[in-house]
């Protein structure tokens, strides 16, 4: 299971720049080799999570040394290594912890990784990131009502701003949308969907201008939501 994942990760790390592709690919190859040579793994949870930052720092640090990079490059690599350690630790802990909150945190970060990964992927003019964002928002509003809808809306709306340098306008919009959709949860799935569409129509153009009206993504998310086997 490791090498298929490693190969897919190498393929995904190509972003049009060969330099970063080679260094990112080397990180995955190093990880794959270490994990192949030590298939049984260590005895504690702390050690495996350290493998990610160590590999990142070794490979990218070597690339920085060879290129003679300014200090900013080192700070970037340190941050990346630190984040990868935290994420690996959270994912591994979330699998074994009995606490629901920690599992939810792991699941939330897992969904964030998926949503950040599909950024920029469009099919037939549909932004899959936006479609899945709306779908998760609808599910959260149905599951937890106005509070959970607003919280998830704010968190989901922040993701595009985390991925690139963009103002977090979507966070405010989706927080209101989640609030409105969650309030109408008393009418079930159709109520949630109605609140979602009404608040998007009212507030979308106000927050985002012309881009605030994303009919294809709204329709796709609505269809997915209606087809999801949940009680009406």
């Amino acid at each position: 299971m490791i090498w298929p994942a490693v190969l897919a990760a190498i393929a995904g790390s190509y972003r049009g720049v060969w330099g970063s592709f080679i260094s990112n690919g080397a990180v995955f190859i190093l990880l794959g080799m270490v994990l192949t040579f030590y298939p049984q793994g260590p005895k504690t949870h702390f050690y495996p999570s350290l493998l990610a930052p160590t590999s990142l720092f070794l490979v990218k640090g070597l690339a920085l040394l060879l290129r003679g990079s300014p200090p900013y490059g080192w700070i970037q690599v340190l941050f990346e290594a630190f984040l990868s350690w935290g994420l690996a630790q959270i994912f591994i802990e979330a699998l074994s912890t009995p606490r629901l909150e920690e599992r939810m945190l792991g699941l939330g970060l897992f969904l964030a990784g998926i949503l950040l990964g599909i950024q920029g992927i469009r099919f037939m003019g549909v932004s899959w990131q936006l479609l899945l964002t709306y779908y998760f928002l609808l599910l959260a509003s149905l599951a937890g009502g106005a509070g959970m809808g607003a919280a998830w809306g704010a968190a989901l709306g922040l993701l595009p701003s985390l991925a690139q340098f963009a103002p977090p306008l979507l966070a405010g919009l989706l927080a209101f949308v989640g609030l409105a959709a969650g309030y109408l949860r008393i009418w079930g799935k159709l109520g949630v969907l109605g609140g979602f569409l009404l608040s998007q129509l009212l507030l979308g153009p106000y927050f985002l201008g012309q881009e605030g009206i994303a009919l294809k993504e709204w329709g796709g998310a609505a269809c997915l939501f209606l087809l999801t086997p949940l009680p009406w």
């Binding site: 990112n24 995955f28 690996a88 964030a112």
Partner: protein, 61 residues
């Protein structure tokens, strides 16, 4: 689905582990997406952490 009558899927013994054992294509898709995931356009911490997680989750503590 095996297990006692009336039990939820995640309450039956072994079903939780089975549900966690992702198939190869699904794992590859997730790995592909995770390695594409970027923070501030330049940081890519998700990919390595997922590979380590796949390994750590498949080994006994």
């Amino acid at each position: 689905m095996s297990g006692k009558l009336g039990a939820l899927p995640w309450e039956t013994k072994g079903a939780f582990k089975t549900s966690l054992r992702l198939t190869v294509p699904a794992t590859m898709l997730v790995a592909f997406l995770f390695s594409r995931a970027a923070l501030m356009q330049e940081l890519h911490p998700f990919g390595p952490s997922l590979v380590v997680f796949l390994w750590g989750s498949s080994t006994p503590p």
